[in-house]
Amino acid sequence: MAKLFQEMGLLASEYEKIVKLMGREPNYTELSMFSVMWSEHCSYKHSRPVLGTFPTTGPQVLQGPGENAGVVDIGDNQAVAFKIESHNHPSAIEPFQGAATGVGGIIRDVFTMGARPIALLNSLRFGSLDNDRVKYLFDGVVSGISWYGNCIGIPTVAGEVYFNDSYAGNPLVNAMCVGLLNHDELKKGVASGIGNPVMVIGARTGRDGIHGATFASEELSDKSEEKRPSVQVGDPFMEKLLLEACLELIRSGAVIGMQDMGAAGLISSSCEMATRGGSGMVMDVAEVPRREEGMEPYEVLLSESQERMLVIPRKGKEQIVEEIFNKWGLEAAVIGHVTDDGMLTIMEGDKIAAQVPATALTEECPVYRPEAKEPEYLSRVNAFSPEDLPLPKDCSEVLLSLLASPSIASKEWVYRQYDYMVRTNTVIGPGSDAAILRVKGTNKGIAVTTDCNSLYCYLDPFTGGAIAVAEAARNLVCSGAKPLAVTDCLNFGNPEKPEIYWQFKEAVAGMSEACKRLSTPVVSGNVSFYNETNGGSVYPTPVVGMVGLVEDLNHRCSMDFKEEGHLMFLLGQTKSELGGSQYLSVIHGKDMGKTPSLDLDTEAAVQECCLEAIKKGIVVSAHDCAEGGLAVAAAESAISGGIGCSVNINTELASHELLFSESQSRIIITVAPKDVEKLMTTANKFGVICEEIGTVGGSTIEMTVSEKLQISVSLEIAASTWREAIACKLT
């Protein structure tokens, strides 16, 4: 046994604890159940104490972390359920299927709650597009997301894509889903009611995703590699049927609880449902419909075959359940029933294959608080001072280079492959700061975004984490929405390394502080550790997914300039903050300096001011200054609106600082001349700096800094540079 538990990835101390919990030595099947449930992925054993520090409550929160998705009130008895999840490692091996099944998994998490999915988002990170393997991964991931989302008919409306060498061997693929439900339709993943049947529905079970590496035991060594593909293949058509059938089932009142089978398949869904319900279950693996022959009990339990759900219907309602599944042509099988003994009893026919207390697999998992230590690289990279850099010879060239850099360039190449309009709710699609979906039958809209600048997090994980939250909220505000709540996907390296664990703790602390100040509690999330290749970690990447409410769609806003003669104003203040900027990274090849500072009170004031001005109908376009600073933000608004602008600012700052610093808490808005007074009144009310910086119009992008014309680029050239950059890199 000694060797076996190690091969299954368990520590000696963990094995001892298992024996104690069981009161005996576990058999092979039981040990494999512990091994997957106590894995980092399922147990969060390295992250749980830290995650506990997130703020998770608020009047809007109907369901916080702990369920398949978080749920937030949006008024009128309606609510939104949402969650983000990573599929980084599968996507590194097989980008198309890895990304596709990531999308499939997150959709199931949302409809499990009784919500109809209304939108998908994705947050992606790759190495440099100069590398052939990276191109292959990028293309594969995007087409996998496109295939799954389009086929199932849920619009993919927003996301982000960044390119940085730290992700070359380990891309990040995070997918988010948002669903809509009525309060009384909320379903949880609980198993209760002694004698209620336990059903598996959807796809048949195969040997998908049972990791050869974890199970390279002697007992198995004679089985050929070919028999155990570790890559799961998705079937969005099956999932569409499952989605419709499950929602119909929930509306019928015939179910108590349901949960999707994601990581660790049947075993994790059953023990989690039993734990939540304070119950137990008897299940017969022989009753599980399979698509392969000769599967061992542990294979059936651990299989990660996609598009399956575990459902607990009410006893006596079996016929309703059956009728609904028949209508959708789905296979459903009763595999057991709910008990009150707290045990997970796994039968294989009339033989007991395993028997474990459900909570032993879930709540009893050991928790670790690894050592945290500030990494050494920090003092070196932070010491770099951009003030010593020479002024660029030609800021027009700099602007064009920034617009052409893949992280800043238009992501149209990506999102034109996504059906972002299906279901006819997309009022603002991809390409603006946040996407907006209308809620049919009301005048409300749901705004959604994902954000994270991992370079900031690399240079200062605390501030970087806080900025990710602040930027997400800012993007929602720019679209006219009030930010409601957060889902997060924490992508880091190996947490057993003190430096990585330090990054992790710092980032969470920074995010927590921002979430508190901006009243956007965390309601769901996901942790992905071990994102490393050959010992090198990805930049710490705590992705923030945020959902907001547009109370009245008449007051929505987008980033594109609207009309000749509108005046440009900057909310907030530009500082000498070139550290961590794309200007440094792209033009000077330095991922260095200090992350821009973030003052949360200023941030909150700027956001409140902007939102109120939008609601008053004063603002006709709004766009926050993010990567590339003020110059890039203004150029993006000009390109999107198909109309030029002329910026004129007097400042103490050096020209490149003014143009390219990534100082936080800044939003460029445009207003009609007649509304300037109203704008200033609003800005004063919130104590926000609001400076007129230019005029919309013409067919060039011009920027004059302290009386000197620094940038003059034709709109057409800026637009084609920005739009075509990614496609150019791929051919």
């Binding site: 091996i93 097989e94 299927q97 796809a203 195969g206 040997r207 998908d208 070919e226 028999k227 155990r228 593909p229 890559v231 799961q232 293949v233 998705g234 079937d235 058509f237 099956m238 698509r291 392969e292 075959s305 996609q306 042509g329």
Partner: protein, 84 residues
């Protein structure tokens, strides 16, 4: 000139949703006797080469590098000389 007729199929055990859907459809069309359907790709690649060995080497390499996805697919090919 040579022509390679290449078949790319899903590895054993890999889910083939397309095959299953076609099988269900054939059943619905009353071909109840169909017991399984697997769907893959078929490619015809024409290439110039000085001799069959070189051609074969090339074809094999193309399959491994581009035409099949080694993570989930297997391939077989059949190479014949044809008139150009």
């Amino acid at each position: 000139m040579y022509q390679a007729k290449i078949k790319v199929t899903l590895k054993k055990g890999v889910l083939d949703p397309q095959g299953s859907a076609v099988q269900r459809s054939l059943r619905a069309l009353d071909y109840g006797e169909v017991t399984s359907v697997r769907i893959g790709k078929y490619m015809e690649v024409n290439l110039e080469a000085s001799n069959k060995e070189t051609a074969e080497e090339q074809v094999k390499e193309m399959c491994q590098r581009l035409l099949a996805n080694p993570v989930i697919e297997d391939y077989t090919y059949n190479l014949v000389e044809v008139k150009s």
